[in-house]
Subunit: 214 residues, 3 copies
């Protein structure tokens, strides 16, 4: 079992660095990494406090299970607000989790969501912040007490229903790459960098609000 | 972007005119129209106050996104109560939105639902009536501020997951046509017309209750 | 229409008798029976008070519609806690009802759930216990007043979306049979029998808690 949480109270995981001219890490192999999380015998759990937007939301959705703080979690796919599209799985995973209509609302509205994300199915459940660590500790203790063969066999049989098609994931990732060079997107990203995209501060804290005002 | 709302506070959109011996508009091409809403580059939004039943509910479900008044929205697929089946998409769209078991409850129970329709996923969300217009205005303002190419590209990639099969839609529409001539349906529709089907009044306001008493 | 409820206030239907060395009833033909419920013209309704765990939960999920007592219903798939996997449909039906991530939480966590199962879609709805019988009586009265041809035609068209694949159901049932002979499972089942598996009492009432302590 692997659990992911953040030491930064404001962010679970921010977005992919569209504000940078090129990635510091070379070609990201995100689709492969996300698919490995799903296909792994190991259970992956995201414990979300703070913001999970763009690639951060897509990372959380690539985990098997998502538990979030009712008061402190914020979710968003703001890409369309930057003139882009989500490229790391949101266009494939969101409809499977929340249905087509709610996925369209999330992606085309590009706004921030609080823990009402639970009502949409974006996360497994929202838990009062004071109870979240205890809830997770109990869940982890349980799973670790069980037989690994039973766990991995059950996960393998559950897997096929609800996982996105990898060919479609790669195709969308390629489309996303093209949108990064769209003139309208370049303009919106330049404006966003001027206003604070990519640096700690008001713009990053409230991207959902600010992308509608570029 | 196109938004649909009603000037009649009691109805978003009533049902298909099964009470009429023949349509005033000739052969309805409903399936094509509904499919065009989904395949269009334009985002379609239903803003629901009052009743959305039968074809009215099916029209709302054919829109990309559905926002409803918590106090004033009413939903229903009453067709089975008239001895018919839903013929304009409910049998295909409801299972995709609310799952098979809840779709069976809705269609075979033929009852009216209030804004708890949100808990089933029939609508995106129910919003207190006093806040609905402000919520929609903000959503519309946001989407209109975004780049149309980003919006339409994202919608096109989201589209395949969660749309019904058009061959199945047409097949069900044909079956619906046949049910209109079933003797039991003719009898129930005749009784319903006597009691007020198709005219403003108590029967139409509370179809869910009255179809169980024909 | 067929409704299923229990005269035992503590149990809707307990689990498959993994505590017995062999079934009293010979080879169970559970997959066939469950599939027949879905394919039948008759509407099947589970009215759940008390525990529905393992095969009991799988039976409830094989019914078309599930209504549960908000205060008295308990759900669980505890198999992984015994070193086994669910073998009677949960691995196929849960992802269709609650999505992949919540299905993984339910099956790999092996814990008991109360009526919050409604929020996941495991059941149609949870109803305050005092209102449950009245709600069901009204639903039953309605459906019985409708034309059986309209009911069965609607159900038949709704059926294909959201039903599991029968080949997959049988394959998982075979895998389940193999897990019953896994050494780790034999050990956990032996310990469980010592602690009260299969007899009325504390262990059976709170299996969700006890399987994490074997």
């Amino acid at each position: 079992m692997v659990t992911f949480q953040s030491a930064n109270p404001d962010y679970f995981l921010a977005h992919y660095g569209v504000g940078e001219s090129s990635s510091r890490f070379g070609k990201p192999r995100w689709i492969e990494a996300a698919t490995r999380l799903a296909m792994s015998k190991t259970l992956s759990v995201a414990i979300i406090r703070g913001r999970a937007r763009g690639g951060g939301s897509e990372f959380a959705m690539a985990c098997d299970v998502r538990f979030a703080s009712r008061e402190k979690a914020i979710f968003g796919q703001p890409e369309v607000g930057f003139g882009l599209i989500p490229g790391g799985g949101a266009l494939e995973r969101l409809p499977l989790l929340v249905g087509r209509s709610r996925a369209i609302e999330i992606v085309l509205g590009a706004d921030d969501f609080d823990a009402m994300a639970e009502r949409y199915g974006w996360i497994n459940r929202a838990i009062p912040d004071a109870d979240l660590d205890g809830f997770v500790a109990n869940f982890v203790r349980r799973v670790l007490s069980f037989d690994s063969q039973a766990l991995s066999t059950a996960k393998a049989i559950l897997n096929p229903t609800g996982l996105p098609n990898e060919v479609q994931l790669r195709s969308t990732q390629a489309s996303f790459g093209a949108t990064l060079r769209w003139p309208e997107a370049l303009q919106r990203m330049a404006k966003s960098r001027e206003r604070g995209l990519g640096v700690a501060g008001e713009f990053e804290l409230n991207i959902g609000r600010h992308v509608a005002d570029l």
